[in-house]
């Protein structure tokens, strides 16, 4: 089936998320939609899938104009989507998820589960993988969940398949397997739209590439085009992927983590016997595919997992078992992974957010009373220093862009006397300009002799920022290696394969 989008425009108020986008995907073709975070790729696909109504433009399938009222219509027309956030009901079995919405029934609406199981088995067999139809989805690894999403789309006989950032949660190995599945689908004559911002993946499977920026198509490219050409097309200017920094000058400050273990409430060990040290003046990047224990590790460092076991020594004193308040007071700065849920109170003003963790006493609180004048003065100073672009310090922080929100978090965390900085995914969802600023501040912190831990799932960022890289896989440390370790070794490590020589321990 041939998919054509003509002049799709989607506005949200004054913001134009999609500006007259044209796109053609032929059957038997993998068409990559390449663009930065926030370029409008997902909006476009939600229009295609009937989740949003386009303000202008039309969708054509095999030359016929379509009018989708909702996802149901899109699906019936033969469009299938593998969502970035899986659209699976966690407590349902695989078979139930696959049949949901087009259930096979016998009698008056009585479910025929065996038919659904058969669908799951036969589709899985076709692609040479195994999925237990009766497994409950929430118990499955993300890679398998994604396959359930694919089976779901195929079981409805989708002819156009959209993969929305499908590799973010996959290991390199799983990514390769997904690529193989995509190629097989292509050989079966499906039209495939592959949304991503990762150049390497594009190069591997794409037949054609369309680059979107700021909601517009800015060009088409050939899969053989060089990286920096694609990147500058995507970002709109030459991209500097390196970070300026001097060689590390170690100080005596030190964070020593040993045998740290964190378990989820239902007993799954997500951080498993993790030991490492970070010296003052160096950046340790914790790399790995998302969901391999990095989040829980940083949370444990800050005291968010009171049940964690092991030891966390900061300059010789034990942090484990302390409350978050006490850990912060010990001089730990923490930039959480998900700033909008963990880092900021969206409805609070910038000024309020800047003192969010400072309400336990002087200078901002005296005799139980907030010192509003002092707070505002501080806020103005920090907004200036961290280049937060805002109309004023009273603006609710939720109205700032991602990059500016992140600067507010950084400003707050760096305005205390630090002895350790932990930054989890500090540049995720942040515009390029802010990324450079954030990297620069992190390097400055390191140069001030403070141990820095950065969690990143982007290999490029890890390599650019790190003095050493620690790779985690399934809650364990695969290895700690120097920043100049070859990418293919790092890639293998992210799939759980330890490097042949253990990296420098220092």
């Amino acid at each position: 089936m041939r998919l054509e989008l003509r002049g799709i425009t989607k506005r949200f108020g004054a913001l134009v998320a999609n500006d007259h986008i044209d796109l053609v995907v032929e059957p038997g073709e993998i068409h990559c939609l390449l663009g930065e975070n926030g370029a409008g790729k997902s909006t476009l696909m939600n229009v295609l899938y009937g989740l949003y109504d386009a303000d202008e433009g039309e969708i054509l399938l095999d030359g016929e104009v379509q009018d989708f009222e909702g996802p149901g219509d899109a699906m019936n027309a033969g469009i299938g989507m593998v969502h970035q956030h899986f659209m699976l009901v966690p407590v349902f079995s695989v078979a139930e998820n696959v049949m949901l919405g087009h259930e096979t029934t016998h009698g008056p609406g009585i479910l025929d589960l065996s038919a659904a199981r058969e669908t799951v088995r036969s589709t899985a067999d076709r692609f040479g993988f195994h999925v237990d139809p009766d497994a409950v989805v929430e118990d499955l690894p993300v890679g398998v969940q994604q396959r359930v999403e694919i089976i779901k789309a195929l079981s409805r006989d989708a002819q156009v398949l959209v993969f929305d950032e499908p590799t973010a949660v996959l290991t390199p190995q799983e990514t390769d397997e997904l690529m193989a599945i995509m190629r097989q689908l292509k050989d079966e004559g499906k039209a495939i739209v592959f949304i991503t911002h990762k150049l390497r993946e594009v190069r591997e499977v794409a037949d054609r590439i369309t680059v979107v920026r700021h909601g517009k198509v800015v060009g088409e490219a050939d899969p053989t085009a060089p990286d920096n050409e694609l990147a500058s097309l995507m970002v709109g200017r030459a991209v500097q992927l390196t970070v300026d920094k001097q060689a590390a000058r170690h100080t005596d400050n030190e964070l020593a983590v040993s045998h740290l273990q964190v378990a989820t409430p239902n007993g799954q060990v997500v951080v498993d016997d993790v030991s490492f040290t970070v010296r003052g003046g160096e950046i340790l990047v914790i790399a790995g595919v998302q969901g391999n224990g990095q989040t829980e590790l940083t949370e444990a460092l800050i005291g968010l997992h009171p049940d964690a076991r092991g030891s966390i020594l900061l300059d010789g004193s034990e942090l484990r078992g302390r409350s978050v308040r006490k850990v912060l007071d010990a001089g730990v700065g923490f930039v959480p992974e998900d700033r909008s849920t963990d880092g900021l109170v969206g409805e609070f003003s910038i000024a309020e957010n800047l003192i969010l963790d400072r309400t336990d006493g002087a200078p901002f609180v005296r005799a139980g009373s907030l010192q509003l004048g002092l707070r505002d003065e501080f806020a103005r100073e920090k907004v200036d220093e961290f280049d937060v672009r805002t109309t004023g310090i009273d603006l609710p922080v939720g109205r700032l862009s991602g990059g500016n929100q992140q600067k507010v978090v950084l400003a707050r965390e760096m305005s205390r006397e630090l002895r350790l900085l932990v930054a989890a995914q500090p540049t995720r969802g942040v515009d390029v300009g802010s990324i450079e600023f954030i990297h620069q501040r992190i390097v400055e912190t390191r140069d001030a002799g403070i141990p820095v831990i950065v969690v990143s799932t982007e290999l490029d960022e890890a390599v650019a920022l790190a003095d050493r890289i620690m790779v985690m896989y399934r809650g364990r440390v695969v290895g700690i290696v120097p920043a100049d370790t070859p990418r293919d070794v790092l890639g293998l490590m992210m799939a759980g394969v330890a490097p042949e020589t253990e990296g420098d321990a220092a």
Binding site: V91, H102, E500
Partner: protein, 431 residues
């Protein structure tokens, strides 16, 4: 990214993620505390004399004797058995297993029996087991229907604090409709419709206008109390003969079965509304877990966006679920006026809707468990009635308090973790 591992040393990571034991000591501790309280009761308030349990009614096939047992001795024996039962719970927890359900069940039953023996000791009257159980079934009717209403609504993602108002609206309407037509059937249907109307208001405000579900529920309760009381004193009281004296459902004894001792009079000499109860419980269970309707309803309650992306109309599904919940809840409301007594009284449901809510939570959003919890709470309420007949030393208020205290323990996680539908209380918006 590079090709997958072909050579190199695989990390020493087992394929299945490691787990550690998380079984808590809550259950054995809870059992121990209950046992200690029970023993304390026996120590502080010893009772003299024998307890008399009667099991038969005159119409039974054969008459069972009145069992006379020594009160205190039996009570202490039960305490001993209870103590023995704590052991397997402790052992199971030690081995990182859950306490088997039978242990908790037998523990509860034994202590209950001991409690009855203690309470009835020295009383001249017989403690009628038939009366105890039969009354429990009757009192649990609105609780069971109410909790089913809650289960259906909440499984689709809408918290239903308004069960109380569904029951009250049902009771009121059944009384009026039943009085006007002299037909309890019309009363029953009217009650179901009235309760569905309450549900509809809940749906409009929570689903369409996305108002906080708990607040709408609370306000609806006040609204229905206001409306029914207003019309009761202004319209029903002056016209009691025509508007508030309905015909009730007759008991339908089931031939043969009704004459089996104990269970005959308890289970097989009831009204149609009671007989329908197990049918509806099973129907709701089957509907929720075995049909397309139920699959979609639960999907909408767990992950509405996922349901939307496969073409399920989330809002319509939720509306439909709430309307059906209303119909079911109305049957419980009808119980008050066309089964129990034949007229409506101001605020006559007296918080049963909240006990039904408690039963639903206690039953972990499962229709069968919720119905069993409803029966249990009905039993607790009736226990108070029966004990006051034999002259129990326990103040009635404490017995009446029991369902609420039990629910407090349940929601505090002392009786096993429960997990509500994930999208509960979340309004759904497409864009």
């Amino acid at each position: 990214m590079t090709a997958p591992a072909v050579d190199g040393t695989p990390a020493a990571t087992p394929d299945a993620p490691r787990t550690v034991s998380t079984v808590s000591w809550k259950t054995p501790i809870a059992l121990g505390v209950v046992l200690a309280l029970y023993a304390l009761l026996l120590l502080l308030a010893p009772r003299e004399g024998d307890a008399r349990f009667s099991l038969s009614t005159p119409t039974d096939f054969f008459q069972l004797p009145v069992y006379v047992i020594p009160g205190m001795a039996t009570a202490w024996l039960c305490a001993a058995i209870g103590a023995v039962l704590v052991v397997p719970s402790v052992l199971a927890t030690r081995r990182a297993r859950r306490t088997p359900l039978w242990v908790t069940g037998v523990f509860a039953a034994v202590l209950l029996f001991g409690f009855l023996a203690w309470a009835a000791a020295g009383s001249a009257r017989d403690l009628s087991v038939v009366g105890l159980l039969g009354g429990a079934v009757a009192l649990s009717v609105p609780l069971v229907y109410g909790s089913l209403s809650g289960v259906i609504g909440e499984r689709s993602g809408t918290i239903n604090i308004a069960i109380e108002s569904q029951l009250l609206a049902g009771a009121f309407t059944a009384a009026v409709a039943g009085s006007l037509t002299n037909s309890p059937w019309v009363g029953l249907v009217a009650a179901m419709l009235a309760s569905a109307l309450v549900s509809l208001v809940l749906a409009v405000f929570t689903i369409t206008y996305r108002v906080n579900q708990i607040i709408v529920g609370v306000v609806l309760n006040v609204l229905v109390i206001g409306l029914t009381s207003f019309f009761y004193s202004l319209v029903l009281v002056p016209n009691t003969e025509t508007l508030n004296s309905t015909t009730r459902f007759e008991r339908i004894p089931i031939p043969f079965l009704e004459r089996i001792p104990v269970i005959g009079p308890v289970l097989f000499d009831q009204t149609i509304v009671v007989y329908l109860m197990p049918v509806i419980v099973f129907g709701v269970w089957y509907g929720l877990f075995r049909t397309r309707w139920g699959l979609r309803l639960r999907a909408v309650g767990e992950h509405p966006r996922a349901a939307d992306t496969v073409g399920i109309e989330v809002l319509r599904t939720r509306y439909r679920a709430l309307l059906i919940a209303g119909l079911v809840g109305g049957m419980g409301g009808a119980f008050y006026t066309v089964v129990s007594i034949n007229q409506f009284g101001r605020e006559m449901t007296a918080g049963a809707g909240f006990i039904a809510l408690a039963a639903m939570i206690f039953g972990k959003w499962n229709p069968v468990r919720a119905a069993l919890a409803g029966l249990l709470f009905g039993f607790a309420t009736n226990l108070q009635n029966v004990l006051s007949v034999v002259g129990s030393p326990v103040p009635s208020q404490f017995m009446l308090m029991l369902p609420y205290v039990v629910t407090l323990f349940a929601v505090a996680g002392l009786v096993g973790r429960s997990r509500p539908p994930a999208a509960l209380a979340t309004p759904y918006t497409k864009e």
